[in-house]
Symmetry: C2
Subunit: 146 residues, 2 copies
DNA sequence: GCTTCATGTAACTTCGTTTATTACGATTTA
DNA sequence: TAAATCGTAATAAACGAAGTTACATGAAGC
């Protein structure tokens, strides 16, 4: 199955934007991430709907972070993206008609629910600020090496 | 996204087979699960490669469980199926060329790895015997009600 | 041996989802 | 008004899972 990589994408975009004082255009972000400006607008549009970024039209327009980096977590971003389903594995039939399926689904669903809860919990503990700091640490180390 | 439902499928098949003394044909299993005999063979073939079931050709042939129900766990089945990737969400670029991607991937990968570990751990704790018992319990309750 | 039943497997199609692309409209700045 | 930029709909491309078709292989029974 094709994986949804939008969470990864918006994180990229946000980290770039966090290093910048001016708005960044869809074009810039797209070039940087090897994708298409329209894709950037579509995805960032969801973050705008959630109040995490703002967009301005016209010359000198573009995308700007509108939230506190300390407050925004990966979980917030996941929710802003519409909480896409997390698993690539699932039940054959979600509304079972027979007892065999009921028993199987019960066993699998419990495990999946627990794993999802753990993942979302981990997401909730990572802020954009922490990610940005992590990036800057790596950046400094990289410059020191070269 | 289209989810991989093979784990769910083989569980269905195995529970049916556990209730049966004779081999079951691909045709029977397919009819029971509303799918195609060839799909059944493809999937069950992986379990056969793992030594969990056997297949016999010709008249009176079919599929038979070859392992101890107490010993086989969901994790064994997951492995027999080739350990398909569990998540429908992932990194945009698994082999990052820039430090932004490195930082993002590190954050996400850690969370995904932990969730995967938890899920596999849960899988390892569920045996076919337990599932079969669960089914029989439900079956008895169902008969008592009607 | 011949027929029948069943698996083994390759090739192809269908279907659903994600991402990319095209096209055009709306808004802002100069 | 011209240029830059987002907003959005419509469409195509790319991909993977499941389904389907077709035929080969092997076993059982006569
Ligand atoms: S995504 Fe911007 S440099 Fe890597
Ligand atoms: S009766 Fe539900 S799968 Fe067999």
């Amino acid at each position: 199955m094709k994986r949804d990589s939008r969470l990864s994408s918006v994180l990229h975009a946000l980290l770039h934007m966090a290093e910048q004082n001016e708005p960044m255009t869809s074009e810039q972000l797209a070039a940087c991430m090897c994708t298409n400006p329209v894709v950037v607008r579509r995805t960032m549009g969801l973050l705008r709907d959630a109040g995490l970024v703002t967009s301005e039209r016209g010359p000198s327009g573009g995308w700007t972070i509108a939230a506190d980096l300390e407050a925004v977590t990966l979980r917030d971003l996941h929710e802003a993206l519409g909480e896409p389903s997390i698993f690539a594995i699932g039940n054959r039939n979600e509304n079972p008609g027979c007892l065999v399926e009921l028993a199987v689904n019960a066993a699998l669903d419990g495990a999946f629910a627990d794993a999802e809860a753990l993942l979302l919990d981990r997401f909730a503990k990572v802020t954009l600020a922490r990610l940005s700091a992590d990036f800057n640490r790596r950046h400094a180390a990289h410059r020191a090496r070269s």
